[in-house]
């Protein structure tokens, strides 16, 4: 008790001290790339097992909730499906038009290699960002399973996100719909590069924003497939991101912007695939492949 009396501090002073601590952490993160890796490992051993268990219960509740889904939900789904049909029709038209061109280009770019060749690990999503501003989540696999920082994350057919932090048995993934996410992408038909950004304002519609698409001859149409570009330094080339659903001009009236529909249902995502090959490592053994393509070097991720 006596000891406590000696170190008695007023709450204002504690506040000032703690504020300094926080500010110095922020400053350290900015200047020296200070990371919370050590704390992550420690805190994770306590929290992660609980999260895994709780998540199972959460999953069960979702199932129950699904059973109660009524007419309204079905109507909504119907509407969504109709919308999907429209997008698919447009896309189909565009595809038919460009089939010949595509076949030729595919040969040229060897896109058939796509991403089936990369080794993948399946992981479960065990918890999501506690706030409502960002779209990050934690998966139950980490460096022990071969996942590293900057590994690409897929679900079904499309790109989901990128691993931002990897610990031994879990990793944090930032989704591409996250407001702070940027992906360097290109169109399949003409290999014009652009930047795909997540946007909180478009999340409800399940869309992403793209910008800085250089398309002087107006070749790119709604329904065009977007894939990750060859000049991205973090995303492996040729991963499907989504279809263009809207095209307008950028503010500079030279390049184009618009929205993209992703094939991934981010809200109901439970399992994801993580590619264990990194783009950085790929570059060292396989540079010739990338040099065959020309593209305007656009501002890249982050």
């Amino acid at each position: 008790m006596k000891k406590k009396q000696q170190f008695y501090l007023k709450s204002k002073h504690i506040l000032v001290l703690m504020t300094l601590l926080c500010v110095s952490m922020i400053a350290a993160a900015f200047s020296a790339g200070f990371s919370t890796q050590g704390m992550r490992e420690m805190a994770g051993t306590v929290v992660i097992p609980f999260e895994k268990a709780i998540n199972t219960i959460g999953g069960f509740l979702v199932e129950v909730q699904k059973d109660f889904e009524d007419k309204q939900a079905l109507q909504d789904e119907n509407e969504k499906l109709k919308e999907k049909i429209e997008t698919l029709t447009t896309e189909n038209n565009a595809l038919i038009q460009q089939q010949g061109e595509l076949a030729r280009l595919k040969e040229l770019y060897e896109l058939d290699q796509e991403y089936s060749q990369y080794p993948k690990v399946m992981a479960k999503i065990i918890s999501k960002d506690p706030g409502n501003w960002y779209n990050t989540f934690i998966i139950d696999k980490g460096t022990a399973d071969g996942i590293q920082k900057d590994a690409n994350v897929l679900a079904g057919t499309g790109l989901v996100g990128i691993v931002t932090e990897a610990s031994s048995h879990w990793s944090t993934v930032r989704a591409i719909i996250d407001d702070s996410s940027n992906v360097s992408a290109m169109t399949t038909s003409s290999s014009d590069t652009c930047v795909i950004e997540g946007d909180l304002q478009l999340i409800d519609e399940g869309k992403l924003r793209f910008s800085q698409l250089y398309d002087e001859e107006d070749k790119i149409q709604v329904g065009e497939r977007m894939i990750t570009s060859n000049i991205s330094d973090k995303f492996l080339e040729g991963i499907f991101v989504g279809y263009i659903s809207e095209i307008t001009f950028d503010d500079n009236n030279l390049t184009k912007a618009g929205t993209i529909v992703s094939p991934v249902d981010f809200r109901h995502l439970r399992e994801v695939l993580v590619i264990t090959t990194l783009k950085q490592n790929l570059g060292t053994g396989n540079t010739a492949d990338e040099q065959t393509q020309e593209g305007e070097p656009e501002p890249d991720e982050e």
Binding site: M1, S11, I14, L15, M18, T19, L21, C22, V23, S24, M25, I26, A28, A29, F34, S35, T36, M39, R40, A43, G44, V46, V47, F50, E51, I54, N55, I57, G58, G59, L61, V62, Q65, I126, S127, K128, D129, P130, G131, N132, W133, Y134, T136, I138, T164, T172, D179, S180, L200, Q201, I203, D204, R267
Partner: protein
């Protein structure tokens, strides 16, 4: 000591409930801010110091697992806890109006701070959208959960209150 451990356990439970269960039962993808409810209620029930303590560790958990900037959420939650500590003792009972109002103010502050420091600075200028889509719904949902959870927090806090703390409270009253 017992109450410190109780606080830590509550922080961690609120954190993983918010990340898992409340994420999967969220309406319109809005999750209540349980950690904020905890900070505000502990600030109200136990004073500024506990507010700082709870706020700091809740924020730190978010920073460690989800934050891009270590220390940001710790700072934010800490101030919310500290500010709610100003109302310590004045409204120390288990009526719900004051905690609910405090949580509303705290959550508004939280929302505005996140928007101002992380979105506005990246030139996301459409404030009206973010206010109506994120800040206000989150505020409402969080207040509703305060009504449900405050009594529960109150009971737990009452049960685990230290004897030395009780002593200090009496000294406080004499002053």
């Amino acid at each position: 000591m017992k109450s410190k451990i109780m606080l830590l356990v509550m922080i961690v439970s609120c954190f993983f409930l918010q990340c898992t269960l409340f994420k999967s039962i969220s309406l319109a993808s809005i999750t209540p801010n349980l950690l904020l409810i905890l900070c505000v209620s502990m600030g109200l029930m136990r004073g500024k110091k506990s507010g700082i303590f709870v706020g700091f560790f809740s924020g730190l958990l978010i920073d460690v697992f989800y934050g891009t900037l270590p220390g940001f959420y710790a700072l934010l939650y800490m101030y919310i806890g500290y500010l709610s500590g100003f109302f310590y003792k004045i409204y120390y009972d288990n009526t719900l109006r004051v905690p609910a109002a405090m949580v509303a103010v705290g959550d508004l502050f939280y929302g505005l701070a996140v928007y101002g420091l992380q979105f506005l600075l990246r030139s996301r200028l459409n404030f009206g959208f973010y206010l109506m889509r994120i800040i206000i719904p989150e505020l409402l949902v969080t207040v509703i959960w305060t009504v449900i959870l405050y009594r529960f927090f109150y009971q737990i806090n009452h049960r685990f209150q230290d004897t030395d703390r009780k002593e200090r409270n009496t000294i406080w009253l004499v002053k």
